[in-house]
Amino acid sequence: MRATAAAAARREAAARARAFAEADARALDGLVSVRPRQAVPRPQPVWDDAEMLVHEPAGERYRRLVLASSSIAHTALAGQFLMITVPPHAGDTILLPRPMAIHRRRPATADQPGTVELIYGVVGRGTRALAAVPVGGTLQVTGPLGRGFEFETGTRSALLIGRGVGICGVMGAAEDAQAAGIRTTMVLSGQRPEQLLGRADCAELGVRVIAVTDDDGSSDLVTLSAGLRAEFDGATPERTPPDVVMVCGAGVLARLAAELGAHWGVPVQASLEAHMACGLGYCHGCAAPVRTDASVEGPLVCADGPVFDARIPVD
């Protein structure tokens, strides 16, 4: 009966993958748009041969990478990403670099180089090959890339929402919030408590954490939405709605954030993922899910995003 069980497991995984992709596409349909001009100029991307200082498991599911690159650590903005060139592994050559969100930026000190921290899940050929690179090895990286999260001046409070490895996408915003004295709450969502990223980072940055998981049902969209509305119901000064919502990790979460934003009357910024080749804009590989006229090219996730405005469509 083992073959039958394997076949059933495979069918179930395929159905889950399809359902997830379809739900995500539906959730993002008409949701995002390119944000108006940014106030802070984007740093010039560079490419660097970055030494790998740390490469270790992070939680049950992910791996943490700390790369030495003073230049990128110094210039990267919250929510920007890097393109990581993956060295060949066990005879397998990886052709395309992999986009990865910058989870933490730590500028150079007198005796330490600046570093960027990235977290990734081992999900395919590219990340399997990446997982084999030893500490002390170097990775070629291009960045910092894209348009990240931006706080309007005068922002006093923020709600950040991250799911899975998408938690890394918003952690840069938590760093900026701490530096600017913005009161911040972060929802950490994942399948199991053992997989949740970012608890230690939030503790370090003084960010209040709301942890939710699929295991206990707290990450369910309806439950989470109701919980957050109750949390920010205005009963006390700490419970007034946030001035901005920033989200990364799934289309359905971006939609949930946009609904909350509409409810509270505050802007929402959502970071998206896409398959990419160049990361700079010229390959046009990462069309953002924005409805456009058939003769007009829509925005690109790498160059116009990855962070977009998210608003519930009116039609």
Binding site: L95, H284, A287, G298
Partner: protein, 324 residues
């Protein structure tokens, strides 16, 4: 010229690579019609952009090649537009384009600032669409590369480039509107690459580029659904090199004009393979995504190989290898 300048306070790897160009002591220049390229290495269309001007020493390349410009504005294909498979990538970007006017207004000034000749890639949905685009581009650009790997709407969508008569029609019409060098970039899936190359030559082309990416259809391993929003896309990268080597060999024997090889070039050795079967120049596409420096390294590698062998031309280098 756009200098590659690394921040002095926080240097990055660009500094080391930009500072060690390896003197270009061997003359590897190549002529494409009236245009002389100082090195036979250039990027492939769609795999390069002016964004790279600040990342790599573009002046060490023979030319810049633009993404294909169509006559009318096009939006491009739905997501996903690209994916990686073992030894290749498949893209169905669908060539978003702002038309020649949009190209001249937004992109061309950035190419012009790169200080290498710009080869403008031009496309069309029927043979009659190419010449008006070239005419609209006017004096801009140093040469035109005609991307004929496009479905011909006059002929139920058969590739223009798989039909020697359609190639002739395209090239003859373009020849009437420009004196600049014309390169015809041929598709892979043709009955006779020799006939296609000859058609281009006879109609007045100055070079052929062999070849474009190869139509392919990747499926998701788990769901068995097409990965690409457009279902099919073009395969490129190392896996297509042996296929394109054969085509370059055949095309080189069929025509007198230079053959520019394009397909899976990652290293100077890949380029030398193509030169050994008759190519005069190479284009580097997919390899640049992982290593923005790839094309520059190919150009430097060719210089180095000639210097090491103490020869003055690639031809002599290949003769030495052949005499082994």
């Amino acid at each position: 010229m756009v200098a590659v300048r690394a921040d002095t306070e926080f240097p990055d790897a660009r500094a080391a690579y930009a500072a060690a160009p390896g003197a270009a002591t061997v003359d590897l220049s190549v002529r494409i019609g009236s245009l002389t390229l100082h090195t036979p290495v250039m990027p492939a269309s769609g795999c390069f952009g002016p964004e790279l001007g600040a990342l790599i020493p573009v002046a060490e390349l023979g030319a810049a090649v633009t993404k294909t410009v169509f006559g009318s504005a096009r939006g491009g294909n739905p997501v996903h537009r690209l994916t990686e498979i073992p030894a290749g990538m498949v893209n169905s970007v669908g060539i978003p384009s702002r038309g020649p006017v949009g190209y001249l207004a937004t992109l061309h000034p950035r190419y012009a600032a790169l200080d290498v000749p710009t080869i403008i890639s031009v496309g069309g949905h029927r043979p009659s669409e190419y010449a008006p685009v070239v005419a609209a581009l006017g004096e801009n650009g140093a040469a035109f590369e005609l991307n004929v790997s496009c479905p011909n709407l006059d002929r139920n969508g058969t590739d223009i480039g798989s039909d020697p008569a359609a190639i002739r029609e395209v090239v003859a019409a373009v020849r009437l509107v420009t004196d600049k060098p014309i390169i015809v970039k041929l598709p892979v899936l043709v009955a006779s690459i020799a006939d296609c190359a000859r058609a281009a030559e006879e109609a007045g082309a100055d070079a052929v580029c062999v070849a474009n990416s190869i139509p392919a259809m990747p499926l998701d391993a788990l769901t068995r659904r097409p990965i690409l929003g457009n279902v099919i896309g073009g395969l490129s990268g190392p896996s297509i090199k042996p296929i394109v080597l054969r085509l370059v060999w055949l095309a080189s024997r069929a025509v007198q004009i230079p053959v520019i090889a394009c397909g899976g070039v990652e290293t100077a050795d890949d380029a030398l393979d193509y030169f050994s079967v008759g190519a005069s120049a190479v284009q580097v596409g997919t390899a640049s995504f992982a290593r923005p420096f790839a094309a520059v390294e190919v150009a430097r590698g060719l210089q180095q190989r000639c210097r090491d062998a103490e020869v003055g031309t690639i031809r002599e280098l290949l003769e030495l290898d052949a005499a082994l």
